[in-house]
């Protein structure tokens, strides 16, 4: 019977990817448990995306726990859930605490150590298990844990779409030393400049951060009564990943992991003397080159050219028709496996929990959320506070303007005028509130503004008595309008896609006509 490796590898990768997405939700869920808000929020959020995700997390966390707390059947087992949630902190491929055990990516540890020129014990403790695993099993992190190993092959399937559109499909291979050069340069910059920079371009770090910011923004918005999809979580890191994906699809499949990833470089360098290797039985090998073609790291297992760069993915072992290739441990494997098991079986941490409710997220607590914007104008500091912090269309909202000279701590007593504009695409504006004076009370200028619709607004403050520049602009968002530029980008993107499709169809037709003629 053939025992294939790839299903197991994919299962591990899917688990890790699921954990990246799930852990931030668990963190938020445990926070709501601390605040004793989970039941209330589940009721209030209903079937919105945030509500469904919270409900899903709740169901998943309660697996195997009876719905019972301190003898009351039907009450959520809060203490047990909190203990359980404490086992999943962070993000597995970047830095996580799993069952009380600290696991930090080696690139992260190395960067931090280089930038501070020191090695603190917590950092070393988190790096022990990944380091041991790399020394024993080689670059397993890349092949089995890193989410890119799962996502990029999926995205590369788009190459067939490119072929269908008759667009050129390239297969460029870069020099594998690039990644070491990048790693070295970053290490030098970290050492001199004291700033870790690789986490900006390291895909596991980017994905971990994006997952966290997604959960944060989703739940923050739901707490303020906004239930739309939070597009705002998209950041520069995602754009970088998109560019990498584009290059993978159109120009050089597999270039990132094999030739450019700084993390891959570090893991490759560390697994130079690894114990687990792909071994070839020379008598069984029929020189079919299938393994060389299949290797995602662009290595040549057929001629035993694997070494430290092999990510132990097992593709070549699976693809070999004569089973000439196989993973082989050196003699010490039993002892090492025992060591690994010892490391992984860290004791679960139990807590005695004495939570008290705190006052966040209560609608009865009027101070939150409040918008507070600060700006400098001449000698003055202008603070604009708005209540509510996320105004709703058609409802009266209050804006308080406080103009103060911080040097002398005297408030500005002269006239302050306020105007409000609605922002439209292409820089157009529509005035919704004429310039007017506010009610002055205890050094504050108070204004009332009603925003007519869900849109982006700009509040303009004018201090006419002030010399020099006397105007300030504060951006405000009412409801969930998205950026006005989104419409423009959508239109432009759609138009470009249409052009590509039209051109592809034209080419196809011309080819078909040519073929017919030839026939």
């Amino acid at each position: 019977m053939m025992r294939l490796i790839w299903p197991r590898r994919r299962a591990v990768q899917v688990l890790v990817l699921a954990s990246i997405i799930l852990f931030p939700f668990i963190a938020r869920y445990s926070h709501y448990l601390w605040a004793r808000q989970e039941t209330k929020l589940l009721e209030r959020w209903g079937n919105s995306p945030a509500g469904l995700l919270l409900r899903g997390t709740d169901a998943l966390m309660r697996v195997g726990l009876p719905m019972e707390e301190s003898g009351v059947v039907g009450r959520r087992p809060r203490k047990a859930l909190l203990v359980r949630a404490d086992h999943f902190v962070g993000s597995l491929p970047w830095s996580a605490r799993l069952f009380g055990l600290s696991l930090t990516d080696l690139l992260a540890s190395a960067e931090s150590a280089f930038a501070t020129r020191s090695l603190v014990s917590v950092l070393a403790a988190g790096a022990i298990i990944p380091l041991l695993a790399t020394l024993l099993l080689g670059r397993v992190y890349c092949g089995w844990i890193c989410p890119i190993g799962l996502l990029m092959p999926l995205i590369r399937r788009l190459r067939s779409a490119l072929a269908f559109l008759e667009l050129p499909v390239h297969d460029v291979r870069f020099w594998k030393g690039n990644k070491y050069a990048l790693l070295g340069a970053a290490a030098l910059i970290g050492l001199i400049g004291g700033l870790p920079i690789l986490h900006y371009i390291y895909p596991p770090a980017i994905l971990s951060r994006e997952a966290h910011s997604f959960a944060t923004i989703l739940f923050d918005r739901a707490e303020s009564g906004l239930f739309g999809f939070p597009w705002g979580f998209f950041s520069g890191g995602m754009i970088f990943l998109a560019v990498v994906a584009l290059v993978e699809v159109a120009v050089a499949p597999g270039f990132w992991c094999a030739t450019l990833c700084p993390g891959g470089a570090l893991y490759s360098a560390l697994s130079r003397w690894r114990l687990l290797r792909v071994k070839r039985t020379k008598s069984a090998c029929i020189d079919c080159v299938l393994c060389d073609k299949a290797c995602p790291m662009q290595l040549q297992p057929m001629t035993d050219k694997t070494g430290g760069e092999c990510d132990s993915c097992g593709v070549c072992v699976d693809v070999c028709p004569t089973k000439a290739l196989a993973f082989k441990f050196s003699r010490t494997d039993a002892a090492l496996m025992a060591l690994l098991c010892l490391g992984l079986a860290a004791p679960a941490r139990a807590h005695h929990i004495i939570g008290l409710p705190h006052y966040a997220y209560d609608e009865s607590f009027p101070q939150a959320p409040v918008l507070r914007l600060r700006e400098k104008l001449g000698p003055y500091e202008v603070i604009l506070t708005g209540y509510p912090g996320n105004p709703k269309p058609g409802e009266k909202s209050e804006l308080h303007v406080y103009v103060n000279d911080p040097a002398t701590n005297t408030p500005y007593e002269q006239q302050v005028l306020l105007e409000a504009y609605r922002m439209k695409p292409f820089g157009f504006q529509e005035k919704i509130a004429d310039a007017r004076e506010g009610l002055v009370e205890m050094g504050l200028h108070k204004f009332h503004v009603v925003y007519p619709t869900v849109a982006n607004y700009e509040v303009v403050l004018v201090l006419p008595e002030l010399d020099g520049s006397s105007t300030l602009r504060f951006p405000l968002v009412v409801g969930e309008p998205g950026s006005p530029w989104r419409d423009v980008a959508l239109f432009g993107g759609g138009f470009l896609a249409l052009l590509v499709v039209v051109r592809a169809v034209k080419i196809k037709r011309a080819r078909a006509a040519l073929k017919e003629k030839a026939a």
Partner: protein, 204 residues
Amino acid sequence: MKEVSRREFLKNAAATGAALAASAVLLRPAAAETGVIRPPGAVEQGEFLSRCIRCGRCGDACPSQAIMMFTEANGEKFSLKPGPGDDGTPIVFPRQQACNLCQKVSGEYLRCTEVCPTGALTKLLKTEAAAKVKMGVAKLDKNLCYSYNSKTCGVCIRACPIPGAMKTGPGERPIFDESFCVGCGLCERSCIRYPQAIMVVARV
């Protein structure tokens, strides 16, 4: 291999040195310019930026969700923009959610400092938090404060969890002692005035 003349070698070495020096100047983390409030136990700002790996574990562990990862989107509401190297680092917006030094949850240590994998947040016992934490310092604006303007309030005095930091003056006026303040921001969060008469700013 191509022969390299001495002049060429010196030229290249000088250029490399200049580039490295320039990068050292340019890439040095902008220390304390933005004046943000870091979680408890944070090491000094420049060191913090070097040490932190932006993993977000402290934010996950924070039971009050006071620790946010600094991005342009969440700083916008408070007119704060991440400076060079600030992106994705943990930050506290006391106005939004103040840190209560884990006084209401179980465990021996402040949870964020316990989970930090790099030592960017030094591990602190809950019992020593009041003495050792210096996240920022509260600043009182007497022009705005109700109690200093012949209206009695005193909310911040009651919100302050640190013994000695706030004393009650005549007419519920807060009499504030900076040396005890940990910068938790509970006073700012409790202040009933808009804009807040008491605000937490970074220590400089």
